[in-house]
Symmetry: C2
Subunit: 592 residues, 2 copies
């Protein structure tokens, strides 16, 4: 079916039901970063295959809102669809909600599918349109009948994430959660974010790309645990384990029935930013609603000793792969046979040589020259270009290991960097060092630390347009909360055990991009009458391109840090290398 | 009348009116930092004379909440009053609002005088007590009948702040304000903060200590200006000026009648954090209320070229006074005759030698040794101690000049500082330099910059418990908004023309306190594809105690900054000194 035909069918349905606007986001019922094909309704209706975007269908107009990564792709994919492209990142582009409001009269109805809207975002829409006298119908699944051949919900088997990697077994985790529930007077807690369910139960799955999660809902009461999951996913062995742990397995789709019929004397705890609006609408009126940031998100963000050690060992594996990869680039690029795409394949191959490697943690950003300046560049067959010795190559990638999840960026020059390139690179490095070496009192948040990574760039009139750091899961999502390092205040203080990326960069449009990313573990530092202090340990193990560094721009302390870091990289990585590679690494990590 | 008698009379009135709790804050109808005696109701009822505190009277209990500065004083002043002291800074002390709620039953009534509560704080109370089923009566002036011999509202004359100092005349300012009003669809704007009224009209007064303001209200409509003020304050000449400028003068107390009778088709703009609840209650229901941060606060925060130049010239005067003072300390302290109190008198005397000096901008904080570690130390006859050469002397003070308002802190050792003292001093200095020399993109807020002043201290496990910077008025309040430099996000970005203090410190309880404070002017820096950048100019001109600096702890750039700063101080201050003092200053500002 052509896009135009699908839209035609949808508009017919809208007219029959008196719906004036229908909103189709790209999300799933769990507000996941990566969604399974079953939930790609925005892709179905519009033909647009990018990872982010929202479609709005009115009776005579239709639009897709997406960000700058996808302007070109969206333009091509929308051709002939009758859906207009709205470039969401441009200041003059209206917000889709405002765009709708400008086009509808009071008394109109806007519909969407509550299952794929978070409570919070559905509320924002309600609030906005109330002002305009426009009503909201959050219970319309108009595409279900139109979508022929819709892929089923994934039925992949789940597997156990062993306690030797997780540090705590699922009963211990459930007890931690219940303690926090009691503090909030909650009798029940509904968990819908897939990584939170996976973490709680020490289970993993294969339902989406990159994130080892599975589709499920979880309800924890003070004396029971209900897992709502497609039974195909559960092997006999896991079924027995769950039975032993007194976890009641229910059908995935029965979550809605359960919520509707839940005990009315309950105090139900949920996070309105991840729980979907369909569930919310079903909660019996008498139930006391306790809306708080997810308990599991906060517990999961603090890595226990086993997880911390796991990350350290995953970093050795990942570092070995990265070292082999950079050495391979040096050897192979001169032949002209390496492209952005083939490089990512080779890197994945090196990572796969490691025990317990379970795939990439995200689609590698592999950008040569001008492509490196596109922050979220995603190489395709159409954009692929060969690597040469003339410019910077930026590679941002990561692996999933049972022991932990990695995320690393290195920027490599295979020839001779210019003075400007060296200065740029060194300013980015100074920011990375300043953030990685700071110590700070408890209570300090990401909004406070963000400037450390930027200040050296600012001193030269430079800056970067993205955040500086995000939380990283343990054999889970490479992007997780609660902490982040950004100019916006998220209200979350750093805690011992958190793992956060440190990734300042610099992007010169049409020239090159530079980013240096390490993962940082938060640890206790000293205590005094002035407070309890925290510090970071740099976990990532991979040399930083020495020939891109202008030593005169580094302070004595910065040089010292770099030399110590490189010494550590050599000591930890070299034992896993051939003599040839060992000698090469020695050179890459020599003191400056 | 004894405090106990006053409380007895008040309780009688409360019983007659069915009031179960009466709240008496220390504020005035303009939410001023310094209040005139007329509004010191909290002081009248309790006998407590401190600058901050709230009294709550219940039928059988009564309490005063104040901060750690006043624990000792409050204990003495409350003795025999039947009013208990609540130490507001202690974590176990309940908030007064919670304390009341715990003691009253649903159906009770809490009363206060809406005129001395901001709309925002009255709303917070309403919201809290609604939850408990307790009602609020914001219209009770129970103390008015009890307070015999209440001082009148000050009747001091106002005077003109000439355009040659203000940069813009009052008509130009009113037009700027109207432009902002139109952007908000406001037909009327009520201004109640005294410094905002003074700024708008280029008038100043003498109604309270330190702040050159006068009691008034101001209403600006799109075609008229109404100044509500006691007519005694207005000289014939100013009366003529105001008439020429079409400013209608009304009685101070007629503001309430005006609001009650205001045109109902208006859009009334006001700031709920400074406008009082009595005014709010009188606004006709039909009037559209536009609640936004004060327009004048934001305009006033950005100093025009004349004001910027005025500050620069005020800094020369203030620097001359400070240099004379520090020299005098060196000469006189050895005799044993200088105390904390006598030092402040001498400093004021030096300041008063300057043309256009109009008094101190706040009560100087003059703390020797352990007293310097008390952040808000206010020396009294009882606490006064002599200065010696054994320890640090911290002097935080400022002057009011027609050209601008100053605020400076220097910490001086008149003997030989210990290694720890030098290290502490140098860390504070490093923070001051880091903040003062940074450049940053537009959009940067105080929450981002705060860490720059703290990071060197953090690296040694040290910190300070106060904010790093506040806005400063131009011949107005020494504390003003909208910007600040603090760990809390106020949402306000730095703008060209803002003047902000830079005052990191370190306080070792029972030992000494160190603070180095300069004022910073925000200026444009470079612009590029990476954004428009801003930087600071250090305005304050006074040497920093060289013998307290440990040079090995400073980077090359920090030494360079210090030497350049001292060179500038000498060049600008020396022409105003005797040869003897000039030679002394040369030594104080020599390069390290």
């Amino acid at each position: 079916m052509l896009t135009a035909e699908k839209v035609f069918l949808l508009r017919n349905k809208m007219r029959n039901l008196g719906i004036d606007a229908f909103i189709i986001p790209g999300s799933d019922p769990h507000m996941s970063e990566y969604t399974a094909a079953h939930w790609k309704k925005r892709e179905f209706i519009s033909g647009f295959t990018g990872s982010a975007g929202t479609v709005v269908i009115l009776d005579e107009e239709a639009g897709l809102w997406t960000d700058s990564r996808y302007y070109l792709q969206a333009e091509e994919e929308l051709e002939g669809s009758g859906i207009d492209l709205f470039k969401a990142a441009e200041p003059e582009t209206p917000d889709y909600a405002d765009w709708i409001a400008e086009r509808l009269n009071p008394g109109s109805t806007i519909a969407f599918e509550g299952e794929v809207f978070s409570i919070e975002s559905a509320r924002k829409l309600s609030k906005k349109y109330k002002h305009y006298g426009i009503s909201i119908d959050p219970n319309q699944t108009l595409l279900d009948d139109i979508w022929e051949g819709r892929p089923p919900i994934p039925e992949n088997s789940i597997f156990v994430h062993e306690t030797k990697y997780a540090g705590l077994n699922r009963n211990e985790k459930v007890e931690c959660i219940r303690e926090k529930m009691r503090q909030q007077d909650a009798s029940h807690y509904i968990i819908t974010a897939l990584d939170e369910i996976a973490w709680t139960l020490n289970l993993r799955g294969n339902d989406v790309s990159y994130n080892p999660v599975f589709h499920a809902y979880l309800i924890i009461s003070l004396d029971a645990v209900y897992l709502f999951i497609d039974t195909h996913k559960i092997t006999a062995a896991i079924g027995r384990e769950l039975a032993v742990d007194d976890i009641s397995v229910q059908l995935y789709s029965d979550i809605f029935k359960w919520v509707k019929d839940m005990p009315v004397e309950s105090g139900l705890l949920f996070d309105p930013t991840t729980t979907n609006a369909k569930i919310y609408a079903l909660i019996p009126r008498e139930v006391i609603k306790i809306e708080v940031p997810s308990i599991v998100r906060d517990l999961k963000g603090i890595k226990n000793q086993t997880e911390q050690d796991g990350f350290r060992s995953a970093m050795v594996k990942d570092g070995v792969a990265m070292v082999k990869f950079i050495h391979w680039l040096e050897e192979t690029v001169p032949s002209g046979s390496v492209t952005e795409l083939s490089a990512t394949k080779q890197l994945k191959k090196f990572r796969a040589e490691n025990e317990n490697f379970k795939g990439e943690s995200f689609g590698a950003i592999s950008g040569f020259g001008p492509h490196g300046a596109i922050v979220h560049y995603s190489v395709t067959k159409e954009t692929d270009i060969p690597l040469t010795a003339d410019n910077y190559y930026l590679i941002d990638s990561g692996g999933q290991y049972f022991e932990g999840t990695t995320d690393i960026t290195r920027t490599i020059h295979l020839g001779t960097p210019t003075e400007q390139q060296k200065s740029d690179f060194t300013m980015v490095l100074k920011g990375n060092i300043a953030l990685g070496t700071t110590c700070f009192p408890e209570g300090t948040r990401g909004v406070h630390l963000d400037i450390l990574a930027r200040k050296p760039l600012w001193s030269k009139g430079l800056n970067y347009g993205h955040g500086t750091g995000h939380g990283v899961g343990c054999f889970l999502n490479v992007h997780e909360g609660p902490q982040s390092i950004r100019p916006n205040d998220n209200g979350v203080a750093f805690k011992e055990g958190m793992i956060t990326s440190n990734e300042p960069g610099l992007y010169r449009t049409n020239q090159y991009g530079i980013r240096i990313e390490n993962l940082l573990l938060t640890l206790k530092s000293n205590s005094s009458e002035f407070g309890d202090f925290l510090k970071f340990e740099t976990l990532t193990l991979c040399p930083i391109d020495l020939k891109s560094i202008e030593p005169t721009l580094l302070t004595h302390e910065e040089k010292q840090w770099l030399n110590e870091y490189h010494k550590m990289v050599f000591e930890k990585i070299a034992p896993h290398l051939t003599d040839n590679l060992k000698a090469w690494l020695k050179e890459q990590t020599k003191p400056i």
